[in-house]
Amino acid sequence: MTTDAFLFWFLALVTFISALGVVVFANPIFSALSLVMTMVTVAALFATLNAFFLAGVQLIVYAGAVMVLFVMVLMLFDLHKEKKAFTQGAFSGSVKLLLGGLLAGLIVGAVSMSKELYKAISDQAVTNSATGIESTKALGQLLFTQYIFSFEVLGILLLVIAIGVVALARSKGGTHVK
């Protein structure tokens, strides 16, 4: 077992457990913290895939901003442990569980039965550089040439959302001292 393999299996295990935690913790705050853990391990998995920049962005954006928002909202709402974390209905609940299991089973089965995808090219190209600097540069170049339009649209989307969210969550009278 090489270090790479050890790292992967360790991270996969932690990811799985914390993802499970998101779904099963009755207290939403623990769910959220569990999700933070998942985010961090997914960032680590990105790093094992040599996507260092994305790992950093994952940490900053997801773990550092989005999840903080979630945790803050949850704490503000002061939701203590819920008596019933799951929606009622034994039948529909079991159907839903079955569906989730089937989906996972189908994909895992399909993937495992397939031949090794892309096995040949695993050690080449920009993505495999040791530091990830080149991959970051390539990412930037792609983003600002081929995907420039999407990038701009995304910027506009963010602006619209910023305005919309402020309008939606605005409280009467404002928060500032007059």
């Binding site: 962005v57 900053i60 550092g64 903080v68 600097i133 970051t136 928060t175 500032h176």
Partner: protein
């Protein structure tokens, strides 16, 4: 990761050393802060225990360790206990990614009847290609310790303090991230090593085909990015929740914010976390704007030092160790001065009001940082003509 057992061992030892360095800096800083504040406020400060009150540190440590352990009745014990530990981790992890001197070269040597080496040991915890992003990402996790503490304490003041603190940290993280984009653009790299290497020697740059050299100034980022440096330093204050940005623990309104319910050793851990933040911020500032471990005198470059060491008769191993130690000294002095600056500011400036704080972050610093980024990009494009 290393390729054999010795290298792994060395790396492990290195991490422990860096962690210890950070932790051990804290008592000293506490003493400096207390003496320094007294000095600034025209008081005496702790001066009874030991010479200059230096043994006060030990007395404090004993006091912290012997205090009563308790869990708030309405708190969440798991979060309550985890919060101080999480306060420590991001600072330590982030600090490890910052290089403090040139690498050490270790010759082949024999141990346990086996030949090992040669090794190149970096003077930092680990080398990461996109170090800047990594440090930013890791330090953004620090919010969670505050939120966990605030929620886990089961106390309104704690929660409010925690929410304030995390909102503040998120807000200022934006300005922080944007303020360094200028430096990143100039260097075209996320790597601390490359950024620091680019800052050695005298101030020299080319602008539209003209090469300008200022022989008496170092080639530091702060001369290229003064606004960026100022914004970064300010945001660092906010990130570490220190005065004038310590709204989260404003005694007058929130008693003591998220650590109302903490005492004893857990409190100490929070202290270490806060100082850890300061250390990480200062190190990053040094690496990005103050030339890293390079001397402020443009004449004294690592090459010059290596040359002297060779003159003194050291071999390659000795030369590298000599150079690294001297450069580490340079880094250490800069760090000490910056930390003193942090303390100095804390005891000089008054506290902001919360809305002023948010206005400063969103309405002043963010636009300035954006403008700085855009202007830098334009100037870089122009200078390439």
């Amino acid at each position: 990761m290393g390729s054999d057992i010795v290298e792994i061992g060395i790396n492990g030892i290195k991490l422990v050393l860096i962690f210890l360095m950070m932790v051990q800096a804290v008592p000293i800083l506490v003493w400096v802060e207390r003496r320094g504040s007294a000095f600034i406020q025209n008081r005496l400060g702790p001066n009874r225990v030991g010479p200059l009150g230096l043994l006060q540190l030990l007395a404090d440590a004993v006091k912290f360790l012997t205090k009563e352990e308790f869990v708030p009745a309405k708190g969440v014990p798991f979060l309550y206990y985890m919060a101080p530990i999480f306060a420590l981790v991001p600072g330590a992890v982030a600090f490890s990614a910052i290089p403090m001197a040139t690498p050490l070269l270790i010759d082949r040597f024999e141990l346990f009847g086996q030949m090992w080496g040669p090794y190149t040991i970096l003077f930092q915890g680990y080398e990461i290609g996109v170090g800047v992003v990594f440090v930013l990402g890791i330090s953004s996790l620090a919010t969670y310790s505050i939120l966990m503490a605030g929620w886990g304490s089961g106390n309104k003041y704690s929660l409010l303090g925690a929410l304030r603190a995390s909102a503040q940290i998120i807000s200022y993280e934006l300005a922080l991230g944007l303020s360094i984009v200028g430096v990143l653009l100039l260097n075209g790299s996320f790597n601390f090593g490359e950024i620091i290497a680019a800052q050695q020697g005298p101030l020299a740059f080319t602008f539209i085909g003209h090469t300008v050299t200022v022989p008496f100034l170092p080639n530091w980022g702060v001369f290229y990015q003064p606004i960026g440096a100022l914004l970064f330093l300010t945001a660092c204050f906010a990130e570490s929740n220190r005065l004038p940005f310590d709204l989260a623990e404003g005694e007058a309104e929130l008693v003591a914010g998220f650590h109302v319910e903490y005492g004893g050793f857990k409190m100490l851990l929070f202290f270490i976390g806060e100082y850890g933040h300061m250390i990480v911020g200062s190190s990053m500032f040094i690496a990005l704007f103050l030339g890293g471990y390079h001397f402020p005198f443009p004449g004294i470059t690592p090459e010059v030092l290596r040359y002297y060491a060779t003159e003194l008769g050291y071999g390659p191993q000795g030369v590298s160790i000599f150079t690294a130690l001297i450069l580490f000294l340079s880094f250490f002095v800069k760090l000490a001065l910056l930390l003193w600056f942090f303390i100095w500011v804390r005891w000089t400036l008054p506290r902001f009001r919360y809305d002023q704080l948010m206005d400063l972050g969103w309405k002043t610093m963010l636009p300035w940082a954006l403008a700085n980024t855009i202007i830098t990009a334009i100037v870089i494009q122009i200078s390439k003509i």
